[in-house]
Symmetry: C2
């Protein structure tokens, strides 16, 4: 019951457009003022809520102190390994990105343990920066361009050359991460979630991430559609030309061979047509009303758009009834790490009692003690 | 509260493997014996539950009378209009099909009102047969091979040549249907639901219906995935050969041009390959672990299978990790009408209070009065 009420109060503050007072929370929840105050005190001590001074008086009446998500308490660490870069990102409980670190380097020649050790160094730097701000990391989430099992095992990441890599165990070997819960997810799934939070627009869309490989995340009514194994959205291996170029997956004519980063550089018009054909298949099957192009596609959006839209108009059965909105991702290359860090934050916001029970005994910042 | 408890008791009987007694229902729900008895009496009077004599004694102890869904009370009427046939089906509350009527005739030359009037005659005959059994129809659901708006308006049914047809209004003009609530849905969606109930197997699959046109229903975790507008699963218009045969939808190389009923008769091997290419796209995007082939594909399964599986093996990224099960629909051509009738029955089972309030005052069968 206490766990439920802690989550209730925290969510109510998180979703409130202004800063509610303790009295307003008591009225909205139906809990007694004393119960709400005890819950709020626990959430403040745990670095999840902050009580802020009243804003300057602009109208009559005595303003009460207001509650907000603590900007200097719990935070999430988002990590990404991709074919030609590593990235780390810290997002605070209020959803504000605080630190973003990116290193460009080809990961393909490296054994997984080496690549993850290098990512671990970036993660250590991000953690140090977060702690210098007084933030306490609640966990880390890793985005990988591949198929991930529910326990975090990376089954296959074709463009990294990975197979059955225990990424959580390898990252936990980094001293700075050893005490953090670590989860792993597909990068397009996490990027789609990042875009969902950042955009505030349509709650239903297909997010397509164009890097060396191509992945997609399906969001319907504000929820990620994962599929049976969590492997939905593999649009990079949708066949565009059945007898076309061989793909490293063993198929022929996969989208990735025509609209991956390298093919796109060689033939942008061909990339747009191929993307339009594969996106049409996805829209005919999934009935989403928006497509968000992320990763390298975000920067290339201006010269991809016309070619893609011509194919959608021709090949989507419902194009005349309900046109599909095509737009560039607002987060660009940061979407996956933002989504990963957000996933950590969401877990804390959904279960504050769990966080209060396992958080470090001595928060690094005295503000959290007040 | 009464509405909630009526539904609770009815669902508990529906989901019970044996026939529970009133006492067992009281114990399981936490309601008093008197409350349960009053609810059960109402459900029996409304033709939703039946109290059956104890089964012959097979062990020690005195068996109590058991409750079951009434096989002679409320029933659902499923209707289908397709390009070359009309069908009607009656399913009783326990999910048992009671009557199935099918008429083969090309519907394309007929104006929608004429085609629906003919379907109305089939529906009248099905209703007469149901009432001769003592059943009371709770409503009708119509399956249409096209895009249907939430209010039942058929926006487009390309292979029937329909556009913006108010199917519920036209069916309500049939005297035998005038007093029934009528809903309309896509035929592949309803067929997928019919297959889900009938099969009892995997709760996640893609159901593909092969007629003159081709549609699909996506079922994940026992729920139909409808998409934003209810237009998901339009696999017939997934591009297989980008510069291929022109389709009546305005595209080129749509699956329907290579694996629709007419193309399949002319070139079965080509149909299998085309189906395999489009199914691979669907599996890469949706991550379902089973594909169920219905409509004409069910009968043709033996000679389609090998060609389809060869493409899945080659083109589904996760084929080696988690092979997809391919099987023929168990219901064949009856799947859509069965699913439609089931949808009516489910609505009654989910809201028995609504049914009790609006059911006809004098049930046609004296058994419902006892």
């Amino acid at each position: 019951m206490r766990a439920h009420n802690l989550a209730l109060v925290l969510q109510m503050v998180a979703n409130s457009p202004d800063r509610p007072s303790r009295a307003a929370l008591a009225a909205a929840t139906g809990l007694t003022r004393a119960t709400v105050s005890a819950l709020v005190d626990d959430l403040i001590a745990g670095g999840l809520l902050a009580e802020l001074d009243p804003p300057p008086r602009t109208r009559a009446g005595r303003p009460a102190a207001g509650l907000a998500l603590a900007p200097d308490g719990a935070a999430g660490l988002g990590l990404e390994i991709n074919v030609d870069y590593l990235a780390a990102c810290v997002v605070d409980l209020a959803g504000t990105p605080r630190h973003q670190l990116t290193t460009h380097a080809d990961q393909r020649p490296l054994p997984p343990a080496t690549a993850l050790a290098q990512l671990g160094r970036l993660a250590s730097a991000a953690r140090a920066a977060a702690e210098a701000d007084g933030l306490t990391l609640a966990g880390a989430a890793l985005a990988v361009p591949g198929l991930v099992a529910p326990d975090g095992l990376v089954r296959v990441a074709p463009n990294l050359g990975w197979q059955d890599v225990d990424a959580p165990a390898l990252l936990s070997a980094v001293p700075a991460l050893a005490d953090l819960p670590i989860t792993v997810d597909n990068e397009a799934n996490l990027a789609a979630l990042g875009e969902l939070r950042a955009d505030g627009g349509s709650p239903s869309f297909l997010y397509v991430s164009g890097e060396i490989g191509i992945g997609a995340g399906v969001v319907l009514d504000g929820e990620l559609y994962r599929g049976v194994h969590g492997w939905s959205g593999e649009i990079g291996h949708v066949t565009v030309y059945p007898d076309g170029r061989p793909c490293r997956c063993g198929g022929n004519g996969c989208l990735e061979q025509y609209a991956g980063q390298e093919a796109m550089a060689a033939d942008p018009a061909g990339a747009a047509t191929a993307l339009g054909i594969a996106l049409s298949a996805a829209i005919n099957l999934l009935d989403v009303d928006a497509v968000v192009l992320g990763g390298r596609y975000a920067a290339a959006f201006g010269w991809l758009r016309e070619g893609i839209e011509a194919e959608l108009k021709r090949r989507v059965l419902t194009a005349d009834l309900a046109p599909v909105t095509l737009r560039a991702a607002t987060l660009g290359e940061d979407a996956a790490t933002r989504g990963a860090a957000d996933a950590v934050i969401r877990a804390v916001r959904d279960d504050p009692a769990g966080w209060l029970a396992r958080r470090p005994d001595e928060p690094p910042h005295p503000a959290a003690e007040k």
